[in-house]
Amino acid sequence: MSAAPLLDVRGVTKRFGGLLANDDVSFTVSEGEIVSIIGPNGAGKSTLFNCVTGFSPPNAGHVLYGGRDITRLAADRICKLGIARTFQIVQVITDMTVLENVMTGAFLRSVRNGAAHEKAEEVLRFAGLHEKRDAAATSLTIEAKKRLEVSMALATQPRLLMLDESMAGLNPVELRGMIDLLRRVRANGVTLVIVEHVMEAVMELSDRVIVINSGKKIVEGPPKEVVMNPQVIQAYLGDRYRARG
């Protein structure tokens, strides 16, 4: 890691009334990496996403993207700079078709309808949704909706893609497909930060894993090491991983 990191989170703290959702969290993400953030429910992972992407700025600390301080920027400005994200609960535009949804994302980098259309078609082919392009977004299965959401984010042509539980609720076949999709996304040069509960995906995809508990970062490292860490096993992982395994 010689060059400046793509994303540099420094001492982010977020309070909701008396509740400390993020407590002095720091980490970095380098260009081309896949970093997973894991932790029990309510650990503050989604809050951290919101702090980074401008949806709810932190009370203290800084977020640097490509060396630039983006802590106080509005969400749409951050998106324009190249950070795209998805939500824990799938967010698509319900009264649009699949293609129109993706075009809405593509319009960020192309003003004209035709260009956006082309880009959207390209993304849909890439994400394996091309056949469903004229279907209403509401008619899709959970898996297709998740793919759609990822496609919408990709259509904004991000450098950094942050996915909030994109694997939840998928069956094993669908899970393979999604893992494959994310690999190809990375191969195209997009850096990934994912919040995930599905450990199978985390273990397979991640270069590095960050573990958060009660708003604090407790461990960071390669996936194999992290799962061996007694602190992690105690805090959260143990039961669940063993039960699945």
Binding site: T53, G54, F55, A74, A75, D76, R77, C79, K80, A84, R85, T86, F87, Q91, V92, I93, T94, D95, M96, T97, L99, E100, M103, T104, G105, F107, L108, V111, N113, G114, A116, H117, A120, D134, M152, A153, T156
Partner: protein, 323 residues
């Protein structure tokens, strides 16, 4: 239908409708059928303008009368006080209304749904009350537009309603053009995303406040144009005739009945609602029982319950089945 493509059938139907509409003044006698169609076009235009902010961006404005009135008052005031040509007044009215829209857009930039609806009513009421007391523009007495020679330049015609008819038809086509340009362009996509939710819009890099603002301002501009037309057509205006809540409600109804969020919806809505209300007035009016308004209220309830997507959606469904 990511890219708008017109089928041959659509083009030929539109051309036929346009020819029929162009010939209509030659086919009818008397002023009432002309007046009726002018009112249909006027409210269709108002509905189309509402649609840009309400149907696409989900800002359910119940205060369009404010923009309508501002348009009518601006051109009429400029005409009566400074002899400014009404065509220039038309543009000035649009600009003033768009600025007023920006003024109200700022405090309302985070309001959605019901909250926006109430705020828009409050705004329109403030405008109405102020205009009602503002001596400069005639206060409650309103403005009477002085009779001038009839000419296109003066935007005034006495011997026939046909010129008003064609001008209003032109305005309607213009607003339909703006609306369909908005829907197929980036802005239309963005507005629909904003309607879905501010979060989903922001995550796609959409500057929510800016696009909402743009939608309100475009809508206000077109609504104000219709207002100037109204003033030149009726030649008199007072706050009670252009700034009241029932006008705003009727605009929403036209859009909803036809189909909010579709380009042609409000046109269909106006073509159904206006003849019903005008004809019941002429046929039932002198009995004075309130029956026509009861019918109107019932109609609104039935539409909301059974056809909430509007007639346009219903027609499209039928059209699809046929194909």
């Amino acid at each position: 239908m990511g890219v708008r493509t017109f089928t041959k059938r659509q083009v030929s139907v539109s051309a036929a409708v346009l020819v029929l509409l162009a010939l209509y003044p030659l086919a009818v006698r008397g002023s009432f059928p002309m007046h009726l169609m002018i009112m249909v076009f006027l409210f269709a235009m108002l509905g189309v303008s509402w649609n840009i902010m309400g149907g696409y961006a989900g800002m359910f404005s119940f205060g369009q009368a404010a923009f309508f009135g501002i348009g009518a008052y601006t051109s009429s005031f400029l005409l009566t006080a400074y002899h400014v040509n009404p065509w220039i007044g038309l543009l000035a009215g649009g600009v003033v209304a768009a600025l007023a829209a920006a003024l109200i857009g700022i405090p309302c930039s985070n309001l959605r749904g019901h909250y926006f609806a109430i705020a828009s009513i409050a705004f329109a009421e403030i405008v109405r009350i102020h205009f009602n007391n503002w001596k400069l523009i005639g206060a409650a007495e309103g403005l009477t537009i002085p009779m001038q020679d009839e000419s296109l330049r003066n935007f005034m015609f006495h011997s026939s309603k046909a010129p008003y008819y064609y001008i209003m038809l032109g305005f309607l086509i213009l607003s339909l053009g703006v609306c369909s340009w908005v829907t197929t362009s980036r802005m239309g996509f963005y507005l629909r995303a904003i309607k879905e939710g501010h979060d989903v819009a922001k995550v796609l890099g959409i500057d929510v406040v800016r696009y909402r603002m743009a939608a309100i301002m475009i809508s206000a501009f077109l609504t104000a144009m219709a207002g100037t037309f109204y003033a030149q057509y009726i030649l008199y205006l007072d706050p009670e005739s252009v700034l009241i809540l029932p006008i705003s409600v009727q605009i929403v109804l036209v859009a909803m009945l036809g189909g909010a969020g579709s380009v042609m919806g409000p046109v269909i809505g106006a073509a159904i609602l206006l003849p019903i209300s005008e004809v019941t007035r002429v046929k039932l009016g002198f009995k004075g029982s309130g029956l026509d308004m009861i019918i109107y209220g019932t109609l609104i309830m039935l539409i909301s319950v059974y056809q909430p997507q509007g007639v346009w959606g219903f027609l499209q469904k039928i059209g699809r089945k046929k194909r």
